[in-house]
Amino acid sequence: MARKGRLALAALVILALALPFAAAAQAKTTLTVLWFNDANESDVFQKTMADYLTAHPNVAIDMQVIPFKDYENKLKLMIASGSPPDIARLASAHVPLFTSSLEPLSGKPVFDQLAKGYFASSLALGRDSNGRLMAMPTEATANGMIVNKTYFQNAGIDVDKLSQTWTWDQWTDAMKKVLKANPKAKYGIAVDYTTHRFSTFLYEAGGRFIAADGKSMGFDTPETLDALNFFKKLHDEGLAPPSVWMGSENPQELFQAGLVASHVGGSWLINAYSQSVKDFEWAAVRMPKRKINSSVPGGKFIGTFKDSPHKEAALDLIAAFSDKAHNEAYCRDTYNLSARKDAKIAYASRSKDFAVFTADLDATPAYTADDWKSPILAKLNSYIREQIVDGLLGQQTMATTAANVQAKGNSYFAQ
């Protein structure tokens, strides 16, 4: 009896010890995914990964969507408090900011293999200063020009043909005719009020923010001055509206209202304008050439963190999301450019416009990505914008603007 009792007790102890392990085996791994939306990306991400979740019933996603303006601070605070999410969507400017916290993807065979299928310029934005890949591109973005085609037609200009090889001088001549032929159009060009959009002009003039060695600023140069003075000339001659860079008006609204004939913005505008512009015909055109043709590479990324609680499961999901089929589906449904070289995407419409932005991206020098992955540039963003506006207002010369930005940037390098 005593022996039976001992056996029963031992069985109970074994059962008690085994239960937690059994429960753990059954438990779901819930991956916390921190996301921001430009449009519908969080929904499309979940829809794209539905087949993965079906194949992995023990994995679930807890999607937390944060407004973009609060996103960076939220992520910084989560990392600083030691509880980063398992997966985070990152803008290209975020990658350098969070490099020290991100889990490197380089050196992991699955990601080394995946990287071979992506554009080098897109991958460059996801790499740290040692060239290690820290986050996978989910989609590519580019800066480019969208024009009101109806206005050009009214002026008797075949913008499709002209824009194949046009320079800024040719653009200026054409725009003067467009404004004359279309009394409703007040301005020739609206440029989004961001340093990123201005950098399109900088790169086309042959300038750059950070010196080639990456150890100091390379902004105070004749090329930069050329870009800044040209940008000021657009405003001084009334070709660009003062209300965008010196006020707070939305250039997208100005274009939609027919007040401006062209808009320099991001590739996401294709999606926005295909939904909102009904009153006139529009199209993406190649950026006019100055010293060179250039866009600005950008994109969104996805990564996991060194301290993420479910790092291995997160890496597995990121790898699956980055394969050809998932990437194509995601880019098609979010209406974005793909960063994969082998992507063949049939968009619901406007495929030709996507091709124009991709062509601008192809012409873009690789060093532009080095600028935008620099944490120094991320810190200088607002300052550069304010300094440019001080120049546009005539409160200082553009040479002073270039010198001030150079000095402030170098003070960060010195730290």
Binding site: E72, N73, K76, L77, I79, A80, L97, F98, S100, S101, K186, P241, P242, S243, W245, M246, G247, S248, E249, E253, L254, A257, L259, K379, N381, S382, E386, Q387, V389, D390, L392, L393, Q395
Partner: protein, 297 residues
């Protein structure tokens, strides 16, 4: 027995009020005192959210005093405060004087003037941006329809600051008007009756009865409006983002930029401490001026 009664009285007079205050004190300590002390501590460090912290003593303060943007934003802040506070004081009192009496639609007008104070500053900012926009704004559209040129409400530095002051005053005047109405209604009517019997005119009554008896409310409004104006951020950010350039950027926006865009939390904390000292000085001056007025009477 007597001693016991005294002990009971002591508990009621000292411990019980403290117990009632305890929840508020706890919240105040946790959410105001502790973060403020932490801010002072942070101001002595070179502090980054991602790269950690290093003790630098008072170097952040020295940096601030050498930083042209600090002086520019501090100057903008003073311009804004010195324009907003007197306007808010005068206009809210001017509105409160007729509306403190019942009847004649006073209730309706009180609601109308108070309404902007109930709106979120973000919504107010967006609405006014639409109203004052250069190319798409309602005001300029109306001006254009009568043959007048557009006015650069938000795209010229001084004009943008003026627009911000006007919108701020529009937003806050109703709130402070209600405080003045409360103060005016608390003044016994017998004072006014006696003054009228003695043949005092409207202006004399206002100068010798209303204003002296309203001084505590004037002080409260002046202190609150000053603190609010020094801390203004949301409305300005939505309307101008501190622009054009940095001509309407106030110190609070620069503190935010330094902390969260440039990741210089120590430097931002040092500027916050300086702002705290400035607000403290203004408040002490206002209290001292008020005390001086009482002593002169």
């Amino acid at each position: 027995m007597k001693a016991k009664a005294r002990s009971h009285g002591t508990f009621q007079q000292t411990l019980a009020p403290l117990l009632f205050l305890a929840p508020n004190l706890l919240i105040f300590t946790l959410f105001i005192v502790v973060p403020a002390l932490q801010g002072i501590r942070m101001s002595l460090f070179k502090w980054s959210l991602l790269d950690g912290k290093t003790f630098v003593g008072f170097r952040n303060f020295a940096l601030a005093f050498r930083d042209p943007m600090f002086w520019q934003t501090l100057g903008n802040t003073f311009v804004y405060v010195l324009a907003v506070v007197p306007l808010v004081l005068v206009l809210s009192l001017a509105l409160a004087l007729p509306l403190s009496k019942e009847g004649g639609g006073a209730g309706f007008f009180r609601s109308v003037y108070y309404m902007p104070a109930m709106l979120s500053l973000i919504i107010v900012g967006i609405a006014w941006r639409w109203i004052l926009g250069f190319d798409l704004g309602i005001v300029n559209y109306a001006l254009k329809s009568v043959g007048l040129g557009p006015v650069p409400w938000l795209i010229k530095g001084s004009m943008a600051m003026t627009s911000l002051v006007v919108v701020t005053v529009w937003t806050r005047v109703g709130y402070f008007m209600m405080m003045f109405i409360g103060g005016l209604q608390a003044i016994p009517s017998t004072f006014y009756e006696a003054a009228r019997i003695d043949g005092a005119g409207r202006f004399d009554i206002f100068r010798r009865i209303t204003l002296p008896l309203l001084r505590p409310i004037v002080l409260v409004v002046a202190v609150l409006a000053t603190i609010e104006a020094f801390k203004a951020y949301e409305l300005i950010y939505v309307m101008t983002q501190g622009g054009p350039g940095s001509s309407t950027k106030l110190l609070v926006q620069y503190i935010y930029q330094s902390a969260f865009e440039e990741d210089r939390l120590g430097y931002a904390s040092a500027m916050s401490v300086i702002l705290l000292v400035i607000i403290g000085i203004f408040t002490v001056i206002q209290f001292a001026a008020q005390r001086g007025n009482y002593e002169n009477e």
